[in-house]
């Protein structure tokens, strides 16, 4: 709590300096959030180049509109709201998320990943995330499955499970009621589980 408060104060100071045209403060703000912003954008759009482009657009928009930041929410929430909105608009414009197709050589790895996923999801075993994190093919499979979710569900699950936002923060970023966040998150996880099990079949 204290750390979070100090970050917010620090953000406020940097924002003030940024408003006065301090380029060093601007760079510090970008450096502070660029990786997190890029990460959630990448998990939402599934393409590195698009994610980089959208990250750049996000910060350009943030700096250009920094005078409009009223401080009603945290700077962090405000930045992520801009990033998520840009990404959702981008994904809606794009008819289909482009992913690398799985070629023949990857079939073996794909089979191993599927087997690992099956074992992971089975009720008889206890979850071991370290096993998943070590299997790149399984991660790719997971990313593809995530991309199959519709945008609102994908956004809420990325913000919660990857960015570790609280429900309140998610509600502010997505401009939703708390109850909607809970139900949408529940539906998103159920859908993801269904999609993963469908892959196992």
């Amino acid at each position: 709590m204290n750390e979070a408060a100090s970050i917010r104060i620090d953000d406020a100071v940097l924002v003030q300096r940024c408003r006065k045209g301090d380029s060093e403060a601007t760079e510090r703000l970008i450096l502070r959030y660029q990786n997190r912003v890029y990460n959630i954008i990448y998990r939402m759009c599934g393409n590195a180049d698009d994610a980089a482009e959208l990250t750049q657009d996000t910060f350009v928009k943030v700096i250009e509109n920094i005078d409009r930041f009223a401080g009603n929410s945290t700077f962090y929430t405000w930045v992520f709201r801009i990033a998520v909105n840009l990404t959702l608009n981008f994904c809606q414009r794009r008819s289909k998320v482009a992913y690398h197709s799985i070629d023949v050589e990857q079939h073996d790895q794909n089979w191993q990943a599927t087997a690992l996923l099956k074992k992971f999801l089975s009720n008889e075993t206890s979850p071991d995330p370290a096993l998943v994190a070590q299997n790149h093919e399984l991660l790719r499979l997971l990313q593809e499955t995530l991309a199959e979710l519709d945008e609102p569900h994908r956004a809420v699950i990325v913000l919660r499970d990857i960015e570790q936002m609280t429900y309140e923060q998610i509600a502010k970023v997505l401009n939703l009621q708390m109850g909607t966040v809970k139900s949408r998150l529940n539906r998103a996880r159920c859908n993801l589980r269904d999609l993963l099990e469908k892959r196992l079949k």
Binding site: T26, L31, N39, Q56
Partner: protein, 325 residues
Amino acid sequence: MQSERLIGEEVEMKDNIDEFLNAYIDGELTQRQQIEIQRLIKHDEQVAKRLNRLQKSKMLVASLPRLDAPAGMVDRIMTALETKAILEHQPAIVNPHAGAAYLFARKLVTAAAMITLMAILAVVVYTILAPNSETPTIATNGTATVALATEDFYGRLELTTANLAASNAVLARAIESQGLENSVEAQTVNGQNTYNLTCSRAGAKALIARLSGIWKNLDAATLVLQTDTFAKDVAVNTVTAEQIAQIIDKDTLNERIDVANELAAANKLAKLMPNENMLPGMPNHTIIPTLVMPVLTGDNASPTKVAAPAKPGERVNLTIILRTP
């Protein structure tokens, strides 16, 4: 019907339980709610299984590695910001209002140019086609008219006579009788009398006609045409009064010079003939105009004064010099 309602309630309840279970694994429940859920999990195997499924889904997504932004992202962003700032501060290439104003101004200028051109064209056409009221016309065959540009006459008549006093008296009387007193400036220098006459063509011709009487007393009479165009003046020696009238009667300097040259040649030829005479037979007497002579109607009657205000182009500037040989 009742069974359908029961199934619906069961699904709704399951959804509600799932929401609580999700909130439980996300740490979003109050302490009391957490205790309730823990109690439910302990006593309901199905709920425990559902919790396990949800936890695995969450862990699976959370296991995705965190990716860092590409290197140089800050530079990319700062460059993009600078580029946008430069582009936004550049003046608009096309200002629609300025364009409209410019177009309107161009239309005005074009219209003004068109009107000016039409006016110039109209003036040119009018100059070519319209009759010039200031240009005198003379009848040639009674029907057709020819426009002539008349020019003032400039000349000097040098009369040499042994009887200067008598000739002076005749000249003075002639000037008076023609009412040209105001048109003549007389002066006497070194024994020669000079009369600077400026009058109408008719007045000059009438004066010369009045002077024809003194011609028999003259030793020499020379008419000098003053020209600006030619290098030297044209002189007609042994000129007669009729010849002077003939020359003055011409409208232009060129015509006068032509006639003067012709008369000078004729006079020179006449002088070479055995019966030299001051009044040589003119080769073309038909062209000599009839001199306007004063008509005497009685003792008290004054001669007709033909002198009239000279108009531009009809003015005669004649200097008459009377001198002794």
